[in-house]
Subunit: 481 residues, 2 copies
């Protein structure tokens, strides 16, 4: 039915990539001469063995991915990466419980950033590096990396790419998917490097600078400090991170054009303008609110713009405990959880472009009621949007809400209040990180029962792959014939 | 531009109807020999004078409503009725503040049932009767009544009817809109009468029986007791009300067929089956939960089925304070707030049929992803649903969510917690009544600042007229040319 050898070959190669990153982490561990380097050695060994086995089994196969197999690969690779990726936590004893370890890893790869740890500073450098690295890998996308590194899978390239890259119909950078993937990853590496240098200049240790750059550019939000970015009492560091969070939440295709000397595309882009408008308006409102509540002016502006950027880009870093703000300011932050980054960025969530299309469509729907026979089309970036795309975005919202509502009811079984049950779903499905109530920015997810951690891990995956790619595997039609 | 005389004539006639009901209330007041009968006399006098003035001004006009004027009439009549309808509260001094009085009246006409009163038993019989009567009038619809009584408006009949009757594309009972309106009101009166008799037999005073029948059949929820239905420690009364709430939440066209000997239509109707399934499943879950928490079996079943019926039909009566239940059970009740009654019922909210269509469409959307070229159509009651209707339902949900989200942020300005700000919008936009947190079933809306009461009144109207009819008046296109 499905071509087992093709799938084995691809998973074999993918696991080799994970193994490579485990070996890098092993070196980090060895540099710091830490006792738990064995955890990475074991994991790399196991991963290498399984990958070799798969590659040996499929040695005679010339992989040709079809659409259906593409869906399976894209969904399952995240689960497999998390299964192998959680082994270092288990072997080192830093997270001895399997549901906790899996949760932490899936939260890493999906760049959610929700954590079960409440003793981050006690972790070894190796473990912290691996934790940040999972986010960096997941940020631009495992499959996108794969296509960039090994472009010869066959015809499925395009489908795989679309299934993993967030947002509706991404603008093509170049005609070839592989070249696009290479450019995206290249830019991603460059931004990460630049941020590392700036944070280092700002006074972070090199280790912390690298880790925070990984998790900023991935809009992940894992920090090497229990207090997150609030640990660094430096306005420079906080502003640098704010800027890079906003870059990470912007469509990388547009950033690529900016970098290569075509800035007009970026500043004429409707999604980007809408995204920056939201950031500025909400930051202004919160700044005024915090100033009103007694904050100093600069501190009020810094805290608000940082928190707004952190939540809308779905990064999830914290400099201020927004749980202590007034209800209205908290509500503004809460609303941002339902917006998310731009399409084609590393940010998760619903995506700005979708909101924009839905707002336009609602306005047009009212026009259509008045002139039922007139043909009224939505325009986006001066081009007519095919109604098929609009309907697809609407269907996505409805599915998102459906999943959101049912999950919130399920999570209410083990929550004590509405804030916690709603935000536990919002923050995992949106790949954000912290929530409200019992899972606020200074809390963590450790107290949940095991089943809730597995369930939330599943929501992270659903969110990262934008529902359809995963849900399709649960439909009868998919497995028929 | 717009035909002022046509609109004046229609409003004149409509106000005469309101005047008639004020006179009926005046008689009730006189029967009980209460001091505040003058409040009704004054109001009836003012209403009569204004109505006469309007009719005199438009005496030579043969009204011919066009579509646009129809939208104005349907939206504005609810506001005008509430302006005149709040005068008895002001004149009698029972609600001396204008924003409170308007809130209470709009909450009545829209059958929301949210109240600012915390001393209901101190009110006179006249005031209580008027309060229940506003709900009864608004339940089946002011315009529907108008068409039933005065069918000769002109060509706009059909548009008016559709603009006011909830739900997408109601099944036509008979080819003539006027005959349909008469049949609906006839059935409405008959059910109200039947419930009155049963409640009277159950031990209620005749006055209370009439009032509660008014507000049950309207799915309004105003009670003559501060403790709502919990006041009556009678299982019989509570079960009777449960059954009539469920009837009021059912499509009246189907009930009409049942009553006239065509029961199969009802039991084969997909919406009705889905509605009853939700009621039974959620009631069962809550019964088990309450039993688990220590309730006696019969009491657990009665409380749960009553509360479920009360919230899903958007009535809003209370027998049990669900605020005291565990978070999961509260969450189930909270979810019901987003479902609402059946299309063509007096229940508000999002409507069961829309949920059903969206669930079907989401499932089909996944199928369409696997077979992008196959034509896959949704079926409802064995008929193909035109994609235009599906898109319209989707657009409605999106508008609903947009209004909901923005309103929740606005309401968070004057709320202290998420439960209160979310549920204040859910309960008014859904025309339900009580919320959660500071506006739970044993609380009231008095503590809100004035602006919030006007804003919530607006949401009630938006909800009652299902957004489009009202929002259309705010679009530039509507007022152009």
């Amino acid at each position: 039915m499905y071509n087992k050898k093709t799938i084995s070959k691809i998973f074999g190669k993918l696991l080799m990539i994970e193994c490579l990153f485990l070996v890098i982490t092993l070196f980090v561990s060895l540099i710091y001469r830490e006792d738990d380097y064995m955890a990475f050695l074991y994991t790399a060994g196991i991963t290498f063995s399984v990958a070799s086995g798969l590659l040996f089994y499929s040695r005679n196969c010339r992989p040709e991915l079809k659409k259906r197999e593409g869906y399976i690969v894209v969904s399952v690779v995240w689960i497999i990466f998390s299964i192998f990726g959680c082994l270092p936590y288990l072997f080192s004893g830093s997270i001895p419980d399997i549901s906790n370890a899996f949760f932490e890893t899936m939260s890493g790869f999906t760049t959610t950033g929700s954590s079960v740890l409440n003793n981050i500073e006690e972790m070894s450098h190796g473990i912290l590096f691996w934790r940040s690295l999972t986010q960096w890998l997941g940020g631009m996308g495992i499959i996108v990396l794969f296509i960039a590194v090994l472009p010869n899978i066959g015809i499925g390239n395009r489908e795989l790419f679309i299934a993993e890259v967030p947002g509706p119909a991404p603008d093509k950078l170049t005609p070839s998917i592989a070249a696009t993937a290479q450019k995206l990853w290249g830019l991603y590496v460059a931004f990460t490097f630049l941020e590392t240098v700036l944070l280092w200049i700002g006074g972070m240790s090199l280790f912390d600078a690298v880790n925070h750059s990984f998790t900023t550019m991935a809009t992940g939000g894992y920090s090497t400090k229990q207090a997150s970015i609030a640990f660094y009492d430096s306005a420079f560091i906080q502003y640098v991170i704010t800027v890079f969070m906003l870059i990470a939440g912007t469509n990388f295709s547009l950033s690529y054009m900016l970098v290569t000397g075509r800035p007009r595309k970026l500043f004429k882009d409707e999604e980007y303008k809408f995204y920056m408008t939201i950031v500025l308006v909400v930051s202004a409102l919160i700044s005024i609110g915090l100033f009103w509540e007694g904050s100093a002016v600069e501190k009020a502006i810094r805290d608000s713009v940082f928190t707004v950027a952190s939540i809308i880009t779905t990064t999830g870093y914290a400099t201020a405990d927004y749980e202590l703000w007034s209800h209205f300011l908290k509500m503004l932050i809460f609303s941002l959880m339902f917006i998310g980054g731009c399409a084609g960025s590393t940010g998760g969530g619903f995506k700005v472009v979708r909101i924009l299309l839905l707002v336009k469509n609602s306005y047009h729907e009212i026009k259509r009621m008045i002139h039922p026979n007139a043909v009224i089309n939505i325009k986006y970036n001066k081009r007519r949007v095919p109604s098929k795309i609009v309907v697809n975005v609407m269907a996505f919202l409805i599915l998102y809400i459906g999943v959101f509502a049912i999950s919130t009811v399920i999570m209410s079984i083990c929550s004590n209040n509405l804030e916690t049950s709603i935000s536990s779903v919002a923050t995992t499905l949106g790949n954000i990180g912290p929530g409200f109530g019992d899972i606020g920015p200074t809390e963590n997810f450790a107290y949940y029962p095991s089943w809730a951690k597995w369930f939330l891990s599943f929501l992270m995956l659903l969110g990262r792959l934008e529902l359809f790619t995963v849900l399709i595997l649960f439909s009868k039609t998919f497995w028929k014939k």
